[in-house]
Every structure is written in structure tokens, then in C-alpha cells.
Amino acid sequence: MKRKITGAFIIVIAVAAFTFAQQNQNLNVEVHLLPVQGNVYMLVGAGGNMTVQVGKDGVLLVDTQFAALSPKILAAIRTLSTGPIRYIINTHFHADHTGGNANLRKAGSTIAGGNVSFDIRDASEGAQIIAHENVMNRMPAAPTDALPTSTYIGDLKKLFFNGEGIEIIHPSAAHTDGDSIVFFRRSDVISTGDIFMTNSYPIIDLAAGGSIQGTIDALNRLVDMIIPVYGQEGGTLLIPGHGRLSDFGDLLNFREMTIIIRDRIQDLIKKGMTLEQVKAARPTRDYDPLFGTNTGFWTTDMFVEAVYKSLSPKK
């Protein structure tokens, strides 16, 4: 019990320290918009990538990065649309994806009435923030204005906005226990949240209900959702939680790495190796030039430890 509390405490402290450092640094960060396809843009700044969908109905955002960046993010959005921000969808609860919730919500408005009147506290004031129920549960310390105003349970919520159907899909126990994948069906773009990244090993937040197998299941689900134009390219495009705009081939490479490392650590566990012995065996060393790091919020050792603990029989 003591070890479990210590592990979870370390992750919480690491997230807090990382967030604090990012908040202080990101006033100087530039915000960039990249057209993806259809109605969808990728917004790059600090923290997790954002998705911006614009059209005649207004603006929909996926995630909000850090609060300090909100003025720059708003200015960038206004280069695309002067319409109201209607929806914000949080892919999970981490502060690098929800830090700007309160600011960007205040900048928007909701069409209230009908059964939406009771969906949010102050009717039409502010955009609606949609997230899985577990996101709300994981944000006890967040200011009230930053909390989701519309949560869903189960594994799917549907919206129709700006002329296209939008699926909000909940894979269970992946990066956290409150993840959402957002699929813009007409634009053919998927916002993956931190289930998929191009510049880091999978971040598995065990303390928040994440798991390696859940991550792999979610990656397999993404593979099933994508239709490339030819080979592994084009067609459905992916906005990853962190890193560059991607497509099917990038996702396959990331899934391949994740499964191979899972298999290696599983094999070492079967051989009776301790966590320290597994770390010493360096099961990630061929992928470290691409995804590994010994510094920062999510080190290679932390990834190996998370996979080891996720695969180890529960005592």
C-alpha cells in the first residue's frame, strides 16, 4: 500500500512540476495554426495539440493547452472565424490539455433552452465543455469554470456541428480512465489525445486508471477507424496529443513500437525479472533515439516502470 501511494504521489508531483514550469515558460511561446483538411485545423503552442473546427455554426475546440496561452489561442482562432466558440471537448484531464478551459469557455457561448438549460450552470454563458465523466472526477482541485459542463458515460457520444457528424469515443483504461478520441467524420480527421504521440513513448498514467493493454486496444481501435488513400498514407488524418500531424503510417509505427515493447517486458516478467532487472535489460533501446529521454516529465525509465507495473499480476 505504501509503495502504491508513493508511486502515485511521484506522478502527481511530476505533473504539477512540469505544468508549473510550462505555465511559466509558455507566455513566450508562439501559437501556430496548420490547416488539416475539411473544416479542421491543428493548433500548436505549448502543451497538448489543439484541434479547431470552424464553420457556419461557430467554433469547436478539442483541448485548451495552458491558461497563459489563452489570449494567443483566441487571437489565432479569430483569424479563422469570428463565430462563437460553442464546444470544447477535453480528451482527458491533464493540465496541458485543460489548463485553458476556463478562459476559452468564457470566450464562447452555448445555445441554451430545451434540455440544455439545465446542462450547464449559467445557461448560455460560456461554451459547453464536454468530457468523459472520469475527467470531471479527476479534476477536484480545478476552478469551477474549468470543469466539464457536459459529461458522458459509456463509450460514445455524438454531436452534429458545422455540417458534420462528430463521434466522441471513450476507450477504457488507456492513457487515463477518462480518455476521449474525437472523430470528425466529414473532414475525416481524428483528434487522438495522448493515446497517440509522435515524440514520446506512450504516457500511461497508472494512478489515473491508465494501462498498457488499454493503450494498445485504443491504438488498435484507431487503426480500424482509419481508411488511407493508398498504402499507409493520406485519407484519415490524425492530430496527435503531442507531436506532428500524422496519418495511418505514423500510427502503425507507433503501435508497432508499443506492442513490441509490451511483448519484450511481458517476456522478461515471465522470466521472473524484477523491475530493476527489466530496466537494466533496456527493452526500449532500439526505439530510444526516437522516443526516449532521461529528463523531463516522462522519462524512458518511467515508461518501462509503467508497462512493468501494468503487466505485473496484481497482488
Partner: protein, 276 residues
Amino acid sequence: MRYALLLAILLMCAPAFAQANLDGVWENLTILHEDWPDRLFGPELGDYTGIPLNDAARLRADAWDASLITLPEYQCRVHPSDYVPSFAAIRIWEERDKDSQQLIAIHTHHFAWGTERTIWMDGRPHPPEYALHTAMGFSTGKWDGDILTVNTTHLKEGWIRRNGVPRSDRATVTEHFIRHDRHLTLMTVITDPAYLTEPMVRSRDYVYQENQQIGAYPCEPVDEVIREKGTIPHHLPGTNPFLDEFANAHKLSKEAARGGAETLYPEYEQKLSGKK
């Protein structure tokens, strides 16, 4: 007056003379003396000779299982632009502005998987790092005299050799297209900070084909093997039984077959001799 007019015309045409015209179909199947292992049937397992790869790349190649390409989602994966010219014929054509006749781009079509790439010649910048990476990458070119030099970024992860030796998505590629009458030499320099310890240099030759066309190359994935969902064929570290086959079959030193920058240079032969 006539000479002045002729001189003026010649001066106006001078850039065109300095630049070669690469248009046409170029075939390499008639000159099979180079890169043979990379063509058609593919290289042998465990053959890393001639590649300045690092330990991480070596381990990835050791873990690679050829069954990977039986997975439907891998069957139609195209050769990246730095590898596909090894395979077979290419067609090259120019795109020019109709009015000014300024060169906008040079395009290439490759027989293998029917891929096409654009080499931008209009001075446009490369996209930001967070833009999409593709198998063909983003290429810009310029003429150095009659040599076309091309720089490519934004490559998706590919392979140096299709027996599992990886080339990362961080690699950049410089190419030189050099025409000698009916022959074309393509020199490729791959710089990969993730998996190579020094640039990987290749050259390939092509012969101009006046009457050749390039055939279609459709690819349709099919279920070849019934597997549990999400299975990725690979060898766990230290368990690949095929790695020594290449060295044994060709009576090479096993160490030399493992490749690496040191093995590329003549001094290495002396080192091996000294060991004997």
C-alpha cells in the same frame, strides 16, 4: 544584325543550356550491377553490410520479422523516396508556368507502388516540423550547373534496407541527379541522427528509354494469415535464428556482416586480417 539577334537568343537560352532536361522514362533493370540485393526479391536477413548503422538500428533490424508484411495494413506500404529508385523504372517530367516558362517543379513517378513525388523548383520554403510527414517527403531542388541537387525533409519512417534496417522520420536526404547523355546517375545521401552514425551514400544508374512506358502497380490488402487482433510479428532480443545465415552463406566475418561505419572503409579489411 543577324549575329546580334542570334547572340541575344543564345543568351536568353543560356539557363536552359546550363540545366539538363531530365524528362523521360529511365530504366535501371538493364544495368543490374549495383544494389542488386535491394531489387525484386529483396536482401538477405542479417545483411547489414555497407550501412553505417548504430546499435539501436541493428537491434531493430535483428527484431524484424518478415512476417510483418503479411499483415494487411503493411502489405501496400510504399517504398520511401530514398529507397524506391533502387527498385525499377522512373519517369521524370517538368512542370512549367505556361506563360513565363519558369520551372515550377520536377515530378517523378516510380514503378514500385506507383508513387509520385514533387521536387519544388520555385524557391518555396519547407513546411514547419509539425506538418505531415510522408513516404515521399517534401523536396526542393536547385540546379548546380547541370546537376540537379534536391533536399528532402518531412519523411515518414522508412527503411535503409528492406530486411528491417530502419531509417527514421528525422532523416534528411540530399540527392544529385547527373545526366550524361543517355545515362542518368542518381546519388543519394541519407543523414539520420537516430539510426546512422554517418551519412549513408548510394548511387544508382539509369538508361534513357525512348519507347518505354511504366505499368500500373495496384495493391489490394488481403488476409494472408489469421491472427489475433493487434499481433505484430517480431523476434524478441537474442532469439532471431536467421541472423548468421547471410555471413555463413557468403563466408563473411559475422562481425563484418553486422555493418557499421567502420566496416565501410578499406582499413577494416586490414583489421579483420590482423585478427586472423
